[in-house]
C-alpha cells in the first residue's frame, strides 16, 4: 500500500526565516513524488516534481530514498508563500493515475 505522511498540519514562520515542510512516504516500488500548492480558494497547482529537480518560487525538494522522504524547503519564506501544501505520491507503473495525497500542511508566513 502507498501512503504519504505530512506530520505537521500547521506550520507558522516569520518572513525571511527558512521553512521546511516534511513529507514521508511508504511505497515498495519506484515512486514519483510531487508537491502541490493550493492558495486560498484557488486551484491546486503543481509546485515541484522530483524527477525534474527544479526550483520553483525558491522552493526545492530532494527525494531521499533511504529515509523515504521528500521534504520541501525554502531558505527565506515570503508572505505570499502562505498556502496549503500537499505532498503526493504517484507510482510510475500506473502513470500517476492514483495520486496519493498527504493530509496537507497549512503554511502561514507572518510579517
Amino acid at each position: 500500500a502507498q501512503r504519504v505522511t505530512q506530520p505537521e498540519k500547521l506550520l507558522s514562520v516569520f518572513k525571511g526565516a527558512p521553512v521546511e515542510l516534511k513529507c514521508n512516504y511508504s511505497y515498495s516500488g519506484s515512486p514519483e513524488l510531487f508537491w502541490y500548492v493550493q492558495y486560498s480558494r484557488q486551484r491546486l497547482q503543481l509546485l515541484l516534481r522530483h524527477i525534474s529537480r527544479e526550483s520553483i518560487k525558491g522552493f526545492t525538494a530532494d527525494l531521499n530514498k533511504g529515509e523515504t522522504s521528500f521534504h520541501l524547503k525554502k531558505p527565506f519564506a515570503q508572505e505570499e508563500d502562505s498556502a496549503m501544501y500537499y505532498c503526493a505520491l504517484g507510482p510510475q507503473e500506473t502513470s500517476g493515475s492514483r495520486l496519493t495525497f498527504g493530509e496537507g500542511t497549512q503554511l502561514t508566513v507572518n510579517p
Binding site: E32, L44, L46, Q92, E93, T94, G96, S97, L99
Partner: protein, 120 residues
C-alpha cells in the same frame, strides 16, 4: 499551456435536482480525472478516464455519473445528491493515459480551478 477549465465555478442544487459539471482541456492529454475535495482536506480520487474510456471508479455512489464525450471534454452528472456531497469538485488531466504496460515516468496531473458544489 497547462489549462484545465471547469464550469460552473459555483453550483447550488436541491436534493432532487439534476445538474452537470463540465471540464475541458485542449492540451491533448489522454487521461482525465474527477476528484472531490472537502475543506482543508486533500483531494480524493473519484474517476479516471483513459483514452476516453472509464478506467478507474473509486466505488463512487451512482448518484455521480461521469461521461467523456471526447478526448477534450469530461462531464460529471449529478442526481439526487445529499448535503454531505457538498464539496469542491476538481477536474484534472495528464498527458499519458493509464497503462500498466507503459513506462510512465513524469506523467504529471494538472488540476482545474474546481466547481464549488452546495447541496441544499
Amino acid at each position: 499551456d497547462t489549462e484545465v477549465t471547469q464550469t460552473p465555478k459555483h453550483l447550488v442544487m436541491g436534493m432532487t435536482n439534476k445538474k452537470s459539471l463540465k471540464c475541458e482541456q485542449h492540451m491533448g492529454h489522454r487521461a482525465m480525472y474527477w476528484y472531490k475535495q472537502k475543506a482543508k482536506k486533500p483531494p480524493e480520487l473519484m474517476f479516471v478516464y483513459s483514452y476516453e474510456k472509464l478506467s478507474i471508479n473509486e466505488s463512487v455512489p451512482s448518484r455521480f455519473s461521469p461521461e467523456c464525450p471526447n478526448s477534450s471534454l469530461l462531464n460529471l452528472h449529478l442526481h439526487a445528491l445529499q448535503p454531505e456531497d457538498s464539496a469542491l469538485y476538481l477536474c484534472a488531466s495528464s498527458r499519458r493515459g493509464v497503462s500498466l504496460r507503459q513506462g510512465s515516468s513524469g506523467n504529471t496531473i494538472y488540476f482545474g480551478e474546481g466547481s464549488w458544489l452546495t447541496v441544499v
